[in-house]
């Protein structure tokens, strides 16, 4: 997926050119975490104007904006943030498949938030904990963003408890989401080049935290595998699930139709 291609705005270098300077481990790490944040921000943004309550609309939009801020910082470490967001093809995105999964009902959005924000807080926490002389730009972003990530995790936990231990209907929907998204959680612990992280420790801590929240919410912890048997690779390798194409089409069509358009 490298080289040049035509758009109405002219000829462009493919922003994710794997043979360019962006192939450095630091860039690959920034791209992976930046794409996680960008894609989840886009998904959460889809709730704007549609959330079950006005207050929740605002809460989800706030989380989306936090993530968008992280994405901008991370992608700017790699290159032109707009080109990276709007002009890459599906196979060039390095986000985990979990974040591209559709919003579904409110329970599915909340469980996706739970799985991801617990992961992101632990990951950022580890990155932020490195010695100052070893701090990379990604670690600096992690140190800054870990507090807002803790808030995202708290929001997801609060809602998981209320949905799981709420009405019969909310419990049923939450359990469905817990089971349906479980297969995308294994990918979270796949090592990312350029990140100094103890991945086994991350997996163990994540499992303990998520298990504790689910049990408290009277939800059953899935026992199935944490990846699909048919998976040909993961989002970190540029392999994405079907709903991701539609997400990209919506996110990119304006920029692709009107290159360089501004407010």
């Amino acid at each position: 997926m490298s080289g040049t291609y035509e758009t109405p705005g002219g000829t462009h270098e493919t922003p994710g050119d794997p043979h360019g300077g962006r192939d450095r481990p630091g860039h690959r790490a920034a791209l992976a975490l930046g794409d996680d944040a960008l894609v989840l921000a886009q998904r959460l943004g889809e709730w704007a104007g549609h959330a079950p309550e006005l207050e929740e609309d605002v809460a989800l939009a706030n989380i989306a904006l936090d993530l968008l801020g992280q994405a901008r910082t991370l992608l700017s470490l790699v290159g032109d943030e707009d080109k990276l967001a709007y002009l890459r093809e599906e196979r060039e995105f390095r986000n985990v498949q979990l974040v591209e999964q559709p919003n579904g009902d409110f329970a599915q959005t909340i469980i996706r938030q739970l799985y991801f924000s617990v992961y992101q807080e632990l990951l950022y926490g580890q990155l932020a904990g490195c010695r100052p002389e070893d701090a990379t730009p990604v670690a600096a972003l992690a140190a800054k963003a870990v507090k807002e990530t803790a808030y995202h995790r708290d929001h997801a936990e609060q809602w998981t408890l209320r949905l799981g231990d709420g009405t019969e209907e909310s419990h049923r929907r939450a359990q469905h989401a817990v089971d349906a998204l479980w297969r995308y959680t294994g990918e979270l612990f796949q090592p990312v080049e350029g990140l100094d992280v103890d991945w086994d420790n991350l997996r163990a801590t994540w499992t303990t935290s998520v298990r504790s929240v689910l049990e408290q919410a009277t939800l059953r912890v899935p026992e199935g595998p944490q990846s699909a048997v048919w998976a040909a690779g993961g989002g970190r390798q540029g392999v994405h699930t079907e709903p991701f194409g539609r997400l990209l089409a919506e996110m990119q069509h304006l920029h692709r139709s009107h290159p360089e358009a501004s407010w």
Partner: protein, 103 residues
């Protein structure tokens, strides 16, 4: 599609909470507005999202709106009118020391 009675009850149960923010240490909490929330913990979080996202505060209170007893507009005169013509009740007979910003 009609809502089940359970869903209807869940929706109907989101009460109103009044929000108070202390903008910095040393000041008292000030009423800033209200939010809907199903319980106190979420009311606090909704209030944070609406009223303190831009460093407006260091402390938040939420109070169930139906627990507030308010004076009635009909009683405005007996309650407040007599205060106006008694100048000796007003703290106007001494000078505020310089440097005191919040009295």
């Amino acid at each position: 599609m009609s809502e089940t009675s359970q869903q209807h009850r869940a929706r109907a149960e989101w009460p109103l909470w009044e929000v108070f923010v202390r903008s910095r240490r040393g000041l008292s909490h000030t009423h800033v507005g209200s939010v809907h929330a199903p319980d106190a913990a979420l009311a606090l979080r909704n209030a944070r999202d609406l009223y303190t996202r831009r460093s407006e505060g260091v402390s938040l209170w939420v109070v169930p709106a139906d627990r507030i007893t308010a004076s009635s507009p009909d009683e405005k005169d007996p309650f407040f009118e007599p205060a106006a013509d008694k100048a000796y009740r007003h703290p106007t007979f001494y000078e505020v020391p310089e440097g005191v910003r919040n009295l």
